[in-house]
């Protein structure tokens, strides 16, 4: 999937937060979303690179991918299942 053209329904910025806050916020935000919607998460904690892909594929959700952008920030995409 081409991550640069993906249309996210909602964006969650977790920059500056570290483990476990990014994952906790992702879980909370995703709970309020509808099936099929896509959540984009911005974050710069190195831990998220392991947490989010692992967790993103659980509970029927789908982890679509991640891509590094400027300033050490990574964009993550999860599709709510």
């Amino acid at each position: 999937m081409d991550l640069t053209t993906i249309e996210a329904t909602q964006v969650l910025d977790t920059c500056g937060l570290s483990c476990p806050m990014p994952l906790l916020k992702t879980k909370k935000t995703l709970k309020a979303m509808k099936a099929g919607e896509i959540l984009e998460i911005l974050g710069n904690d190195p831990g998220s690179k392991y947490d989010l892909p692992d967790w993103g594929n659980k509970g029927g959700n789908e982890f679509l991918g991640m891509t590094d952008v400027d300033g050490g920030v990574t964009r993550y995409f999860i599709k709510k299942g």
Partner: protein, 397 residues
Amino acid sequence: MASETLFSSVKEEARKNYIAIFEQDWPAWLAGIFIAILALLIFLWDTPWGIAGGYRNWGDWFLYTIGVNSKKPFAPWLHPMSMSNFGIFAGALMSALMSRQFKIRKAPPLEYAKGIIGGILMGFGAAFAGGCNVGGFYTATGMLSMGGIAMMVGLGIGAWIGLKYLLWEMENLSIKPLVQKTKGGTFLGVNWDIVQPYIGGTLFIAIVVAFYFYSAIDKTTLGGILFFGFLIGLVMHRSRFCFVRAFRCPFMTGESDMVKVVAMSLIIYGMGSAIIKWAWIKEPMMGVYHPFVLGSLGGGAVFGIGMILAGGCASSTLWRIGEGHLKLVMTLLGFSLSNALTHKFITAYNLSEKMGKGVFMPDVFSWALTIPLFIVFFVCWTFLAIWNEETEKFVIF
């Protein structure tokens, strides 16, 4: 290739291994095995592994400097736990540099506050439990001290309370995300990404030199501890080894991965130390002093809350500082100072006797029963966590 020389072959192999070691992450189970072995080696080499004692040494220095304490503490470079802490930090820093992940990482003000408060709670809890998540739980359990199991229960309770707070905070306090300034990746005019591995390599050589230096001044034991700590820091950073997850994730996401790893690591550690102690290679009561049950349980609960707030326990605080997290520097300051002060308080009022005393598992269950019970206990913990992962029975969010 026909033109392949020995040199080019070695170079290619070295490049592949560099990627495998420093660019790909290590599986947590492998780290669990390594850490158990390293902890056993530290035990054989000198005394059981701990971290909080080193933090306390640093806190004592502060208290001595400002005139609160009159007794001069051990020099940090002559204190075993302080030395292994330096090692863990240096190992993680080297690992972060080698994998080009070192960066000064700032956080929003509320996160710094949580870092300090988490550190204070951990320092307080560790003083009562006779150690942190390493000395009071991991090593205590490995040394077959009942206090380790009590602290484990306490850590679970604390993690649950801490997580409840984080959920409350998420609903009620809004934290503005930090605006990231895009910095040019240069260091003294050169590309930081290219420079990092060379600094990491230099650090590795410095640690090896330090070992031989300690050896030359007749302090080989300390040099060895520094080196073992260094290896632990490397392993922890490469695998992002985090004791907190074993206690937090069952309540948060239901994941049981880290529970499996910690349980397996403890079985190796415990069985290894059983061999060492049963055979009297080391004195059996060594490392068995944790105040069972009140101190370990209560201290563990307070420590558990602290580690959730800080986002790191005693060990992951060190390796995350090595990766450049400023929030955890705050945690370290809070931990050191509060641990030194609480320890002073406990000694002054002779509280440790009231909190319980060190109980050695084989004294309670006999050697014959301790070994199967120990294994069954940790296997049960693992199965409980796996069952929770499937049913989410304990997940509170």
